[in-house]
């Protein structure tokens, strides 16, 4: 049976490329497998546009976008990394020149989003606005879903936040979609897959026993629960303590840093000062 290939268009908006770099850190499958092999039996991704990876540049790669939009309606996956700047008609961010004019991030997300099979908002910038949308939000950055809501674009959006996102969250979500279809994906009320964002950091934290015993770190580098040093793990939904990062070697709290709450829509304004205790009630 022929392999079914899903063209993937990966757009980078107001972001830092950190989510791409994080996906490069995928372990099993490795990034090479994502590029070259069937991800699940009979189905494969085909990365036709990614500004950091692709060989081409200039006009020919903009043609790839035009061709996809015109000829592959409903057949491609759109991944958006980075927020969408909307101030000044989107002119704070351009991904290239199209027909003699700047192709703004906002325009490309809307054009490519409306006819995609599925949109994945990757990382906290693309999902909720993230760092570039932090107070006073100089370029009026927004997440993909907010843009779609405003413009009446109805394509399904799955949010995979994180600053950056974890490679497993991305690969796992894609796998679930290929195996069982997007409708089978169980999402929370923020459109995040419950598979990865289903439990609190605090529930699974190795320092939880310290919290229960009232043993708190008073300064960075101390043992004990990091609650008093601003840990946001008690209202942050992610599986970092179980999965850990970088091939399961370490993660923020294990390395002595309070959780920043980087997968939550309140990040970074609601979750900062980052080293100050902020209760759930104070969050909003």
């Amino acid at each position: 049976m022929a392999t079914k290939k899903y063209p993937v268009v990966w757009l980078q908006g107001a972001g830092c490329t950190g989510c791409s770099v994080s996906v490069l850190n995928a372990v099993s499958p490795k990034f090479r497998n994502l590029l070259l092999d069937e991800l699940v039996p009979g189905q494969q991704l085909n990365l036709i546009f990614h500004a950091t990876i692709m060989a081409g540049q200039g006009e020919p790669v903009i043609e790839v976008l035009k061709d996809t939009e015109k000829n592959r309606k409903g057949g491609y996956i759109l991944i958006v990394e980075g927020a969408v700047p909307t101030a000044e008609n989107g002119n704070y961010g351009s991904i290239g020149e199209k027909d003699g004019r700047h192709l703004t991030i906002q325009q490309s997300v809307e054009e490519m989003g409306k006819d995609a099979l599925l949109v994945i908002a990757l990382g906290t910038c693309a999902t909720f606005g993230g760092i570039p949308s932090a107070r006073p939000n100089p370029t009026l950055c927004k997440g993909v879903k907010a843009i779609f809501n405003e413009k009446g674009i109805e394509t399904a959006v799955v949010n995979i936040p994180g600053c950056p996102t974890h490679p497993d969250w991305f690969v796992g979500t894609i796998s679930a979609v290929l195996f069982s279809g997007v409708d089978a994906l169980e999402l929370d009320d923020l459109a995040r897959p419950k598979l990865f964002y289903g439990s609190l950091i605090h529930e699974n934290c190795p320092r939880r026993a310290d919290f229960d015993k009232g043993k708190f770190a008073e300064k960075l580098g101390d043992p004990g629960c990091l609650y008093k040093l601003g840990c946001k793990g008690h209202y942050t939904y992610a599986d970092c303590p179980l999965r850990q990062w970088n091939n399961g070697l370490n993660w923020c709290v294990k390395a002595g840093s309070p959780c920043l709450g980087c997968v939550e829509p309140e990040f970074p304004d609601g979750t900062s000062p980052m080293y100050e205790k902020i209760t759930f009630e104070e969050l909003k």
Binding site: Q12, G15, C16, T17, G18, S22, L24, N25, A26, K30, R32, L35, L47, F49, H50, A51, T52, M54, A55, G56, Q57, G58, P60, V61, N91, Y92, G93, S94, I95, G96, E97, H102, I105, G130, I131, P132, P138, T139, C141, C163, P164, L220, G221, W245, N246, L249, N250, C252, K254, A255, G256, S257, L260, C262, P268, S272, P273, M274, Y275, E276
Partner: protein, 494 residues
Amino acid sequence: MSTKIKIDPITRIEGHLAIEAVIDDGVVKEAKSAGTLFRGFEIILQGRDPRDANRITQRICGVCPTAHATASALCLDDAFGLTDRIPDNGKLLRYLILGANFLQSHILHFYHLAALDYVDAVSAVGDLSPFIPRYEGDYRVSGQANAELVNHYIKALDIRRKCQEMLSIFGGKMPHSIGIVPGGVTEKPTEDKITNFLWRLNEIRDFIDNIYIPDIITVAKVYGDYFTIGKGCRRMIAYGGFDLPTGKLFKPAVVSPDLKPESLVEENITEDVKYSWYADSDSGKNPAEGQTKPQLDKEQAYSFLKSPRYKAQVCELGPLARMVSNYVQRDIKVKELVDSLLGQFDAGVDVLFSVLGRHAARALEAKFVADAMVDWLQDLKPNESCIVENEIPETADGAGLSEAPRGSVGHWISIKDKKIERYQVITPTAWNASPKDDKDQPGAIEQAIIGTKVRDKDNPFELVRIVRAFDPCLACSVHLLDAGANELGVFRVV
């Protein structure tokens, strides 16, 4: 007859960049380098807890976040009065973390950002995205040698991942590590972690010695003309960095085109804005004083980047600048590495100022850093403290100058009422990819392009090879705008 070549987007770099070149009789007469994304980090930082700058500025760039973590920690150490109190363990861990980031960034740069300009991936893997579309024509490596380079592209994906994993042992996670903070590092070295780190490092060193550097030589042998293409301004700056208990790994200097080093005086750095979307009243000021008032209807402006200059002169930053700086200051190891490479080509130091020179300097620097990291690991004192407590001062100023994979980086802070009043970042790409200055001198990348012979204007390999050899990082550079200037106004899109 002149023709204009516009490449927008320039891909396989970090961020959003466009290049325009005017070609006359096949030779570039004019060049423009323009950043096309603006986020406004300094505005966002205003009014926040100073310690948060260390977390937020990392998010400027996901490829080299650790460089911003380091520069911001040094900047906050300075403002908090901690600089002389950082435990040796803390310094060593900081630079093991930063060193790991250098290795991942350099390996990623050569194999995954630059190599597809030289290596014919399509002949090895077929007509497959993302390897098509591409420029066609000038691929000079063939057969077995080419297939091997393509295999190394794949292998390097694993090695760069392993650099990140090594980093996370002391840095917590990557990208956006959490280990480096004002006062030191949150992790603690234990014997098992040191050994774990060491053996990951040994695998990476093996790759650098036996694959990365030999591959650079393979490419250089068939693309020998690129030792003369992309010469650039030849004036180099390194702020210096990796300030270890045993001294600085990278020596600070400004090196003149005739290879004379002079000491770097921070006050001599100024920023011009004649061709940037900022008010002219601001031009020529030191970053510690400069305001950044956007003026977006400026007729001649074409970039969001300002033009940093040293004594009003154009300078290049990066691995080449650092290697040259250490070389002319007679660093024994760097001299050995550089001379041995030049010996293989029977060439003098002059050829370093070129496309291939920049790639070679980056590879040699990877070896220089990786080998030194072995010593730092051995200097760690297991289980001993890596951090001192900090307290936010009511009012203070601070500066943190360091080295990032792509060149020197500086962070500056002013604290008032325990909050950030002003924060400023100047990155290496801001220097390298800068537009023309007030004296109409083109920026470093622009100068490297001007005068280049372009053989095929439909496949202008020369231009993209020159630009990518600088390893530009646009996310790092186009975040300018001073905290004091909240009004953005309207700008003209070119």
